[in-house]
């Protein structure tokens, strides 16, 4: 009995991984010979990681039974404030790069946390549904950023910050290409490891599933439902800040109209493809990671096949719907 139960769970757990593998092979065939080049694969991972990091926080929010539409705009707001603050320190300290970058990162983390906390407070204390709250804050964060920059850019004056955006943890010529680990990819994996561990092995993770599954039962079971929900949004804010730091550093500038645009949809799509239930209660961080890479591989593959970006968007939409449909059939 136990053996069959374990076999079933494995299929559920690794189903999305099998889909990723299949897609990978398909991409290797369609995108031949460029897709399999090491540099291309590293690039796919890097491109996937900015919205991918946000998808990790989004996974927690969706498991809690909520949604956060404000993440993209929040990233723009966080990055705008961070770059402004960094430039200010640079000026005040007479060009101390290290201090400016450290200060900038700390400020971005704090603003991210506060922005997420604002969402959380409105949802728990204000008792307004997450969709409405984050729809509102999405607009607020975006337009405050646009107002601050007069719909333009905030260019960072720091040289090193831009280098941070291109940083690789290692880079190794393995003959067939240069294998490297860009900072955003490493961040994605580190955060996924931490959050995945939190979800599986801590009380908070268990409570998160309970609240998302049945908030009333959780309340009767002495779980502090409001606090559990609040922290899901606060943690998500912090995760958004991590993405914002990396993306701002990548270009060393923040273009307020475009920064993080559409990230909320990419993140939600990755979470859903990864097998997390939209209704909350259960989900998997590593499933989301798989979803993140699947979306990016599809885009890369279609690029190489020469499909127009508009049609790529159409394919993406079909994939999202199809993956949920397939998961529904499996249940």
């Amino acid at each position: 009995m136990n053996a069959t139960a374990a076999g079933k769970i494995d299929l559920e757990k690794y189903g999305s991984l099998i889909a990723l593998g299949t897609l990978f092979i398909l991409a290797a065939i369609i995108g031949r010979p460029y897709f399999l080049q090491i540099e291309n694969l590293v690039n796919v991972m890097r491109q996937a990681s900015y919205a991918g990091i946000i998808a990790l926080g989004m996974t927690l929010v969706i498991i809690s039974g909520g949604i956060d539409l404000s993440v993209g705009a929040m990233a723009a707001f966080v990055a705008s404030c961070g770059v402004l603050f960094m430039n200010w320190i640079l000026q005040a300290s007479g060009g101390n790069e290290t201090l400016a970058i450290a200060g900038g990162i700390v400020v971005m983390a704090m603003i991210g946390l506060l922005a997420g906390a604002l969402n959380g407070l409105l949802i728990t204390l204000g008792k307004i549904v997450p969709f409405i709250v984050t729809l509102g804050t999405m607009s607020i964060f975006r337009y405050v950023s646009l107002q601050m920059a007069n719909a333009g850019e905030f260019a960072s004056h720091s040289q090193n910050f831009g280098e941070l955006g291109m940083a690789k943890l290692f880079s190794l010529d393995i003959g067939v290409g240069v294998l490297s680990l860009p900072l955003p990819v490493a961040t994605l994996f580190v955060l996924a490891t931490i959050l995945g561990f939190v979800l599986d092995n801590t009380r908070y993770g268990r409570y998160l599933c309970a609240v998302g599954s049945n908030a009333r039962v959780a309340q009767y079971s002495a779980v502090r439902v409001g606090s559990v929900r609040f922290w899901a949004y606060a943690i998500n804010g912090l995760v958004v800040a991590a993405s914002a730091v990396l993306l701002a550093a990548r270009f060393n500038t923040v273009s307020t109209p475009n920064f993080g645009l559409g990230f909320e949809l990419d993140a939600i799509a990755a979470v859903i493809i990864g097998g997390t239930a939209m209704s909350g209660g259960r989900g998997s961080i590593w499933g989301t990671v798989v979803g993140v890479f699947m979306l990016q591989i599809i885009q890369n593959m279609l690029n190489m096949a020469g499909l127009s970006p508009y049609l790529q968007g159409v394919v993406k939409g079909v994939v999202i719907i199809a993956s949920v449909y397939i998961q529904r059939q499996k249940q």
């Binding site: 092995n201 801590t202 009380r203 959780a218």
Partner: protein, 503 residues
């Protein structure tokens, strides 16, 4: 007795290769009240779901008025004159009564619009026929369980049902409401209707039904007039073994008062409630549905805000603002609403049992869940409570009601409470699981755990409790003790007849 109206012939039903019904032959006669009894999982509901078009039999046929019929959907059943009043009501909360009655078959005007006037009128006359005072325009959400049931019956009448199947109709009703229901069912029989009454409450079947059919593990093991079978025989045939008394001998507590509620008031809900609880005592909270019993529990747990009064444990006043405070003070609650407030059906057995007590499993340096200890503890409950599950990782939605309830009970006592409040602990549970639950609670009392036992089943209040507080309209109507606990006294206090007679 009339001629056969509905006949099941060699009905078999498998679920994924597991036989649930085996070669069932059953005649249902016009104008009878047929009781179908059996433990949970015996196949009662499955058989009736086949009759009402929700399931299809794996083999066998259904014959209505001499003709083989194919009942593919509930709409087919309705057209044939078979209506099912399900255990969980099928009503839309936001719609008024008359819309619910005609849901799916709305009356329309010639122009094709809804004929609200006609629907209201028809609903009104049907309700009058049932002798109930329900406004056709009232919304379902504000109604009591009994009223909702009347609406369900009204729905069946609206489609001129000839066979009315009622699945566990009294689960949510008080004794008083049950009597009204019985009168109504008898009246319907007089009008020529056939009623199939599914229950596991033997007393009700004995009191109401003309004939009783007993199912056990998918087999029809008995079919005969109710007058020719005793309670004991019914029970024995249901479980297939000899039965002793279902209640364990009461344990007489001699300890001191450990818990006390003084003058507890929640405006509009409960008023000036006081009672004491001794160590190892089982204190019953009886009363009609809506008398405020569950509300007292919810107030003790901090789910409702009290306006005055105090809650004391070991003589010290407790400050309880939320359920976590109550748990910390050693108070635990088993909810009456199993799926709504008790267990998470999407969670595994393990995760459900440790949901309240999870902090106890997080004592390592990094406060991680000690999964090995967690599983060990849960396995212990599965063994001692005889919880039937394939593994600890099964989601509760795959377990039967009785086993879900045992998990819920395990969850309530895993916090090692000193005060356990159980609210309808055996609702929707079969006889043998009931018996086991009584044993557990009795055992807990012997170990010194004090228990507040809330129940609408007088039998278990009388069988289990050392003392009984009877509630009426949010107030304590009376307290009974020892030999003074009997059905009549409780009902007198619960309905207020006693007081009025005295004054």
């Amino acid at each position: 007795m009339g001629e056969t109206i509905l006949r099941a012939e060699r009905i078999n039903k498998d679920f994924g290769g597991v036989p649930v019904l085996k070669d069932i032959d059953l005649d249902i006669r016009r104008g009878e009240i047929l009781g179908i009894i059996g433990e949970n999982g015996a196949g009662k509901s499955t058989l009736m779901k086949i009759m009402s078009g929700i399931y299809q039999p794996t083999s066998g046929r259904v014959i209505m008025r001499g003709e083989t019929v194919r009942i593919a959907t509930p709409i087919d059943a309705r057209a044939l004159g078979i209506s099912l009043v399900p255990q969980e009501f099928n009503l839309i909360r936001d719609l008024p009564v008359y819309n619910n009655v005609f849901l799916g078959s709305e009356l329309r005007t010639k122009a094709g619009f809804l004929d609200k006037v006609a629907m209201k009128e028809r609903t009104r006359s049907l309700l009058a026929q049932l002798n109930v005072t329900i406004d056709p325009e009232a919304r379902i959400e504000a109604m009591s369980a009994a009223e909702k049931q009347m609406v369900e019956i009204c729905k069946a009448l609206a489609f001129e049902a000839q066979v009315l199947i009622m699945d566990e109709p009294t689960t949510m009703l008080t004794k008083y409401e049950i009597e009204i229901l019985f009168r109504l069912v008898r009246k319907l029989r007089t009008g020529g209707m056939t009623i199939v009454y599914i229950s596991h409450k033997l007393k009700e079947v004995k009191a109401l039904c003309d004939r009783v059919v007993i199912l056990r593990d998918g087999d029809l093991v008995h079919d005969g007039p109710t007058s020719e079978i005793s309670f004991l025989e019914m029970a024995q045939k249901m479980v297939g073994r000899e039965l002793g008394s279902i209640f364990p001998p009461k344990f007489e507590p001699d300890g001191e008062t450990v818990f006390e509620v003084r003058g507890l008031t929640v405006p509009g809900v409960v008023e000036n409630i006081s009672f004491r609880l001794r160590k190892g005592e089982i204190l019953g909270l009886a009363g009609l549905v809506g008398a405020g019993r569950t509300e007292i529990a919810e107030t003790i747990l901090g789910l409702r805000k009290k306006s005055s009064g105090s809650i004391l444990k070991d003589g010290k006043e407790l400050t309880i603002d939320e359920p976590a405070d109550a748990v910390a003070a050693g108070i635990s609650y088993l909810s009456e609403d199993r799926q709504g407030a008790g267990i998470i059906t999407g969670f595994t057995v393990t995760r459900n049992v440790t949901l309240v007590s999870l902090a106890d499993y997080c004592r390592s340096l990094f406060r991680l869940i000690d999964k090995k200890r967690e599983r060990g503890k849960v396995q212990g409950y599965v063994d001692s409570f005889h919880i039937k599950t394939e593994s600890l990782d099964k989601r509760l939605e795959n377990l039967s009601g009785g086993n879900q309830q045992k998990v819920s009970l395990a969850k309530s006592i895993d916090t090692e409470p000193e005060i356990l409040i159980v609210d309808e602990p055996t609702r929707g549970v079969d006889v043998s699981a009931k018996h086991e639950i009584y044993l557990f609670i009795n055992d807990l009392a012997r170990k010194g755990i004090s228990c507040i036992f809330i129940s609408s089943e007088l039998e278990e209040i009388i069988g289990m409790c050392n003392r009984v507080v009877v509630m009426r309209d949010g107030k304590v109507a009376g307290t009974l003790e020892g030999d003074g606990i009997d059905e009549e006294e409780i009902m007198f206090y619960a309905t207020g007849v006693h007081e009025e007679a005295a004054s």
